[in-house]
């Protein structure tokens, strides 16, 4: 059964793709560290502490998460992932977006003209409802549908 959630579009856009769900905080540096050092275009999560994502491919996925955590290089990591083409297609936050993720997607959007579609404030029920591998659609107004 389709489920719909309405969030706040931070960087709006339309997309459809496969969900990748992190129930704990997404540590951007730890997750992308290996992929960036090796400059791999298909980035797999290298965060040993993230049992949901460890070793799973993040590139091109619709990353569903509560927020990002960890090093303040986090925004720079997202910006770099965008330049390499290894970023997720969209980031869907159940919580309000955090300052590190916000900086990263804004810098990529303004300085690289590369956009990760971002919606936040989808609520805790969103992360309870969505599962890795499900198809998700994101609308311009921040409506998220689990197909």
């Amino acid at each position: 059964m389709r489920k719909t959630f309405k969030g706040r579009p931070i960087l709006s856009g339309v997309c459809q793709g496969e969900a990748l769900v992190s129930h704990g905080g997404f540590n951007t540096l730890a997750s992308y560290q290996t992929a960036l050092v090796l400059r791999t275009k298909k980035a797999s999560c290298s965060d040993q502490n993230n049992v949901d994502l460890y070793k799973k491919v993040m590139t091109g996925k619709i990353l569903c998460l509560p927020q990002t955590i960890g090093s303040t290089t986090g925004g720079l990591v997202l910006m770099t992932a965008c330049s390499l083409g290894s970023q997720p297609t969209a980031m869907l936050f159940s919580n309000p977006i955090d300052s590190l993720a916000a900086a990263g997607v804004i810098l990529a959007d303004i300085w690289l003209e590369k956009r990760i579609i971002v919606v936040d404030e989808l609520g805790p029920d969103f992360l309870k409802a969505v599962q890795t591998g499900e198809t998700i659609s994101v609308a311009e107004d921040g409506t998220v549908t689990i197909e």
């Binding site: 706040r8 579009p9 931070i10 960087l11 905080g25 540590n27 540096l29 730890a30 560290q33 290996t34 960036l36 050092v37 090796l38 400059r39 040993q48 502490n49 509560p66 927020q67 990002t68 955590i69 960890g70 090093s71 303040t72 290089t73 986090g74 925004g75 720079l76 910006m79 770099t80 965008c82 330049s83 390499l84 977006i97 955090d98 300052s99 590190l100 916000a102 900086a103 990263g104 804004i106 810098l107 990529a108 303004i110 300085w111 690289l112």
Partner: protein, 441 residues
């Protein structure tokens, strides 16, 4: 984006409209959009020097170097001088074989070029490479209430919590743009309401807890929330001194890396908690009790990424974040005593004690101290151990550390201080030692 309520002055609006040129307008647009996301009401002037996390010329961060060059080419500089995190490599103190060195030169191949960029933008001096810029020897020490736009999670949490300055957890990139403009959007930790605590942490351990372990437990639980910590003043006392500052530094770094804490209050210890006490707690706060069993649970939950769990460490890193003088002296004496107790003169593996260049210089320039440390197999380093572990070859070695931050971001294995000392002199740790969760007296 969002409907904006962010009010700009006429001067700020003019910059946004291009009065200062296209690049400055882009910088202004970045921090305005950033502020709008968090419902900032205005931009406020930064007071004091800045600190940036980005100290490393990693080949992979080309878009960042391009942004820096755009700023430089536009003739822009930061309003005040700034410090940055530690340099990633220092072969004099952390020796490596030629193959590992070659990989370092590939991973950090832009280091020299990047340092030219940093100087062009306003780097304080050649020694301004440390994650603990707030130590008196370094001199980038903000005062209470100062408005900043710092990055480096461990420095942010220290500036907010221990010094009472006001900075959000800014990302690399946005920190530089704020410093160029001399302004930060007012939201979060820059406001009184953003500094209220939503978690009460009750420390009920039988002895002074390990700062690294306590911070980890708090960070994993509260993520980016502000914790108000009770029961710790019993162990720390109520006066600041270098030992208390070191404890708070290491605890904060663990809260920030294991979670995303940017500000904590310690009852009767940190400045705002001393003034306001439990008035800092919001009415509907949550509670987390930390006792010996909880710390043990957290400690035993850490994954170990060594290929051979019984390996003898090839190297030990102490000092992530960088050590203050009190810690440095303490480690030197403790290692010396541990060696003497075993009838040894050298540790089983090289030990690097990382500290800011301004402090390292004091020790390195004393020939007697240097000779003593060399004989013990101990080096005073200014390295960033985390950057060292970014080398894929180096990361395959069994590396041990007492830093929970380094554990979080690398394959380094975490040990408590007493265990690390045991490792240094015996090459192994008895299993029984792992149940002790207190700090070395």
């Amino acid at each position: 984006m969002t409907g904006t309520k962010l009010k700009l002055t006429s001067e700020e609006q003019a910059i946004l409209n291009g009065k200062g040129g296209e690049v400055l307008a882009k910088a202004m647009r970045s921090i305005v959009v950033y502020g709008e996301v968090f419902d900032a009401d205005c931009l406020v002037d930064i007071v004091g020097d800045q600190h940036f996390v980005t100290s490393f010329g990693a080949n992979t961060i080309k878009p960042y170097f391009a942004m820096m060059q755009e700023l430089i080419d536009a003739g822009l500089k930061t309003k005040n001088p700034f410090t940055v995190d530690p340099r990633p490599i220092e072969y004099e103190s952390v020796g490596v074989n030629p193959i590992v060195k070659m990989v370092f030169s590939l991973v950090f191949g832009k280091q020299a070029d990047y340092e030219v960029q940093l100087k062009a933008l306003g780097l304080k001096n050649d020694n301004a490479f440390t994650c603990t810029c707030y130590f008196p020897e370094v001199g980038n020490t903000p005062g209470r209430g100062d408005i900043l736009a710092w990055s480096e999670s461990s420095a942010v949490v220290y500036a907010n919590s221990v010094l009472g300055a006001r900075t959000n957890r800014n990302s690399a990139g946005i920190d530089v743009l704020c410093a160029i403009l001399g302004k930060a959007p007012r939201f979060g930790f820059l406001t009184d309401s953003g500094r209220q605590a939503t978690w009460k942490i009750e420390v009920k351990t039988s002895q002074k807890p390990s700062a690294q372990l306590l911070g980890s437990a708090i960070g994993l639980k509260v993520m980016e929330a502000v914790p108000y910590i009770t029961g710790l003043d019993k162990f720390l006392g109520k006066e600041m001194n270098p030992e208390v500052e070191a404890f708070l530094k290491d605890m904060g770094a663990a809260t920030a890396s294991n979670g995303a804490v940017g500000l904590y209050h310690v009852e009767n210890v940190t400045p705002e908690a001393r003034d306001l006490g439990q008035k800092l707690l919001v009415p509907a706060y949550k509670t987390y009790v930390i006792d010996d069993a909880e710390l043990k649970r957290v400690y035993t939950s850490y994954p170990i990424l060594w290929k051979n769990l019984d390996a003898t460490p090839k190297r030990i890193f102490i000092g992530c974040p960088h050590l203050n003088r009190s810690q440095l002296d303490g480690w030197i004496e403790n290692i010396s005593a541990a060696l003497k107790a075993q009838g040894l003169t050298r540790t089983k593996m090289p030990v690097a004690l990382s500290t800011p260049p301004d402090i390292a210089d004091i020790y390195r320039k004393d020939p007697a101290v240097k000779a003593r440390l060399d004989a013990m197999n101990v080096s005073i380093s200014t390295i960033c151990p985390l950057m060292y572990m970014n080398n894929p070859l180096a990361a395959t070695d069994p590396i041990a550390t007492n830093s929970n931050k380094l554990r979080t971001y690398s394959t380094a294995r975490f040990y408590l201080d007493e265990e690390i000392l045991e490792l240094m002199v015996t090459g192994t740790v008895k299993a029984a030692a792992s149940v002790k969760i207190g700090e070395k007296a």
